[in-house]
Amino acid sequence: MWQALYEELAGRSFMVIAVAMDSREGDALPWIEAAKPTYLTLIDREHRLAELYGVVNVPQAVWIDEGGRIVRPAEAAGAYEGFRKMNRATRELPEDAARLTAQAKTTYVSALRDWVLRGAESAHAFAADQARAHLPVLTEDVATAQAMFRLGQFLMRHGEREEGDRWLQEASRRHPDSWCIWRQRAGVTELGLAALPDFWGRVDALGDKRYYAPVDMPGMP
């Protein structure tokens, strides 16, 4: 998704770092090989980005300026709820959902382009107090969940799959907003694929709550 923009902005002191929140060895590789991005693609087995930046889902992005300062904290990166209206048999989106999904994408890409070209002058670059206001809310349950996730991942990698899965389950219980944790666990019990019926069940259970928290950006649905 970002390759075109990355190529367009070549030579502008801009780097895309795409991080796969994939814990199981080899899961991310086929995707990387197929896409062949020229930007940097990394693999985050232990969900370090979740610990450090409060990432809870994919795609989420953080904007960081040349001085290493957070300009926009973790937020949905051009993704939209529209998929919830998908026809689950045909995987088709109704027209309004498709339109809003496309709008979310183009709005986000335009904003990102604007920032790369105009830097701090861009309306989309948060000033310090605005950036702080948009930081994720971290609770001690979230911190404990991250520790449990790490323990679960370690045990899974070292042959203790049942206990590892119990820790992932507990981690998810403590940090229910994290789809990263939940989807990682769901994959464990379904021989490599996240269980689709479980996924839709959990999405439906959100009710009116957003799957992707609203993004503070003009034009974003």
């Binding site: 801009f14 086929p30 940097l40 370090r48 992005a61 953080v62 001690e140 911190a143």
Partner: protein, 137 residues
């Protein structure tokens, strides 16, 4: 054999002693894993010292060993261990993470690419970085 997972990575500690919710590490390993050292002032890391509770010093320090689990609880940081007691995670508190983010300094990290080569965020200082997550799921 006990494995201790911390911010700095994974450390195997053959001489670790586990007793209930206590994790006793030799002083050198305690420092290697956590950065905390027993001094006259208490347990210290860089400029910060935590005094030992009067009359209960032995809960945290015995001879040259440190109960890092008790230290972690005293610091309000999450501690979890496997059922066997062989794997421990000394995590970071929400307060610690939030304080780091509040500074708006993007926390550095080092992760591998598809061929296993390591890259750090700090390698790209001087460029705007768009850090974006994705997944095969």
């Amino acid at each position: 054999m006990v494995i201790v997972l911390t911010e700095s990575g994974e450390l195997a500690v053959p001489e670790a002693e586990v007793s209930g919710d206590a994790l006793w590490l030799p002083a050198r390993e305690a420092e290697a894993a956590t950065g905390w050292v027993a001094k006259a002032e208490g347990l210290c890391k860089a400029e910060v010292c935590v005094p030992l509770p009067a009359g209960r010093e032995h809960e945290l320090v015995r001879g040259s060993r440190v109960n890092v689990a008790a230290l972690w609880r005293r610091l309000g940081q999450p501690v979890v261990c496997s059922e066997s007691g062989h794997v421990w995670v000394l995590g970071s508190s929400a307060q610690h993470r939030a304080a780091a983010l509040h500074s708006l300094e993007a926390p550095d990290f080092t992760l591998p690419d598809a061929s296993g080569r390591l890259h750090s965020l700090s390698d790209y200082r001087g460029k705007k970085v768009f850090l974006v997550t994705w997944a095969s799921w």
